[in-house]
Amino acid sequence: MSARAIVLCLATALLTGGACGTDPIQSTEPPSFSADPNQVLASDSGSLTIAVRFAPAPPTVGTDAVQLSFVDPSGAAASGLGLAVIPWMPAHGHGTSVNPTVTETAPGIFVATPLYLFMPGSWELRMTISGSVDDTAKAAFEIP
């Protein structure tokens, strides 16, 4: 957004108490995830192990994506799951203005995108798992 546009938006926001907007997201490339997970965690019940891979890795302020790979206690991919992902900033008590779309790309492997992590600090990805297993999980990470 240009400086002139910002000045115009500033005046508009002052007069109307309203909002201006965000320039279109430029990236159209599908996210690329590394082979090594950024973190591995257990679901809250302990019945699932979750490998977390960010793109970019480590995550940065802006537009991010995450791949979440679920395996059962035998080490096999956990199939038949449903997943919802909510980005959350616990210290500030807020989430993001857009919740990511979650897509299962292979049995037990999900990609959540876009993650609009709009400010630095401590974030969480709060996962609600349904289907063959009802569970919750939370991945905590920092954005410098």
């Binding site: 302020v61 210290a91 203005s97 709009f118 400010m119 410098p144």
Partner: protein, 318 residues
């Protein structure tokens, strides 16, 4: 992807802003009386423009504020500088009015209009709107400089109402139209002030409680927040005042409704700055500050670190 829009809330906020602006305009056009400031009493509101000085009956004003983020504290207390390609600049215009009710009691109302400009990784945005309205009250038990060596002592209270838009209800991906916390915040405080010749020093301490918040399926509560502001300065014969201030805040870990305390979710920040108050004409005053949050590892948690300034123009009546 799901997005939530609440256009009716914008109309509500615009209506509130219009009413508040009309009330301020009515105050501004009221007939003024001549100012007769006392040198002892002009310094102690140096960094709180919505506070009436000892000789003032009412005041209205506007304060403009700009702050640029240069880094952030992690939950562990480590500090990292922002990426060179990112931008996070906040602007704020606070309309305020203050009214004295009796010799010791004063109330104030402040309406912030907040704008944010953000850019990161090829995305940029600018937005804003009405923030959280704040009402405050002050009861001066004793006024500084009026009882010999006894310091001034005041009881403070404030309530912030969530009239702003919380970030997760913003209309844009970078949440630049987020202008509020989404919670009520109540504060109680004590202020101690001492006048030493033409100099002054004051210390204010607050306990603030933010109400719990439920959004996006997450429900959490917040620990009380402790904060303090120390100000010192010198008032010249023509009431021009210069000073410095430091503030610190600390809040404990957040509690999740389902899972209890969340580790590393406390917040802390230390800020320091310089201030100037400059009277002009008979009943006007300009107040300005320059400030910076201190990017010292361990001195902050879960807060962005920035620097900026404020400029307030105040019309007062005595």
């Amino acid at each position: 992807m799901t997005r939530r829009r609440r256009p009716s809330r914008f109309r509500d906020r615009a209506a509130i802003a219009a009413v508040f602006a009309l009330a301020l305009a009515a105050g501004v056009t009221a007939r003024p009386r001549t100012a007769a400031a006392q040198a002892c009493c002009v310094g102690t509101g140096l960094v709180t423009p919505a506070r009436l000085r000892t000789f003032e009956d009412r005041a209205v004003g506007v304060q403009m504020r700009a702050r640029s983020v240069m880094g952030a504290f992690a939950g562990s207390g480590s500090y990292a500088t922002s990426a060179a390609s990112s931008r996070d600049v906040g602007f704020e215009e606070d309309l305020f009015g203050a009214l004295r009710l009796g010799s010791r009691f004063q109330v104030a109302l402040l309406a912030p209009f907040i704008q944010t400009s953000r850019a990161a990784a090829g995305t940029s945005g600018f937005g804003g709107g009405l923030g959280d309205l704040t009402a405050s009250a002050r009861f001066d038990v004793t006024n500084a400089g009026t009882r010999g060596a006894w310091p001034g002592l005041a009881v403070l209270a404030s309530l912030a109402v969530p009239t702003g838009t919380p970030p997760d209800e913003a209309d844009d991906p970078l949440a630049t139209s987020g202008t509020g916390t989404g919670s009520y915040e109540g504060s109680l405080g004590l202020a101690v002030e001492e006048i030493i010749g033409q100099g002054f020093v004051s210390l204010s301490g607050f306990v603030t409680k933010r109400t719990g918040r439920a959004a996006n399926g997450v429900e959490q509560t917040f620990a009380p927040r402790l904060s303090a502001v120390m100000t010192g300065g010198y008032t010249f014969g023509h009431d021009t005042t210069v000073g410095a201030f430091a503030s610190a805040l600390r809040q404990g870990d957040v509690r999740d409704a389902m899972n209890g305390p969340i580790a590393n979710s406390s917040i802390a920040l230390v800020t320091a700055g310089a201030a100037l108050a400059l009277p002009f004409w008979d009943a006007w005053r300009l107040q300005t500050t320059l400030f910076t949050d201190l990017p010292i590892p361990g001195w902050g948690r879960n807060q962005t670190v920035g620097f900026g300034g404020t400029l307030a123009v105040i019309r007062f009546w005595i």
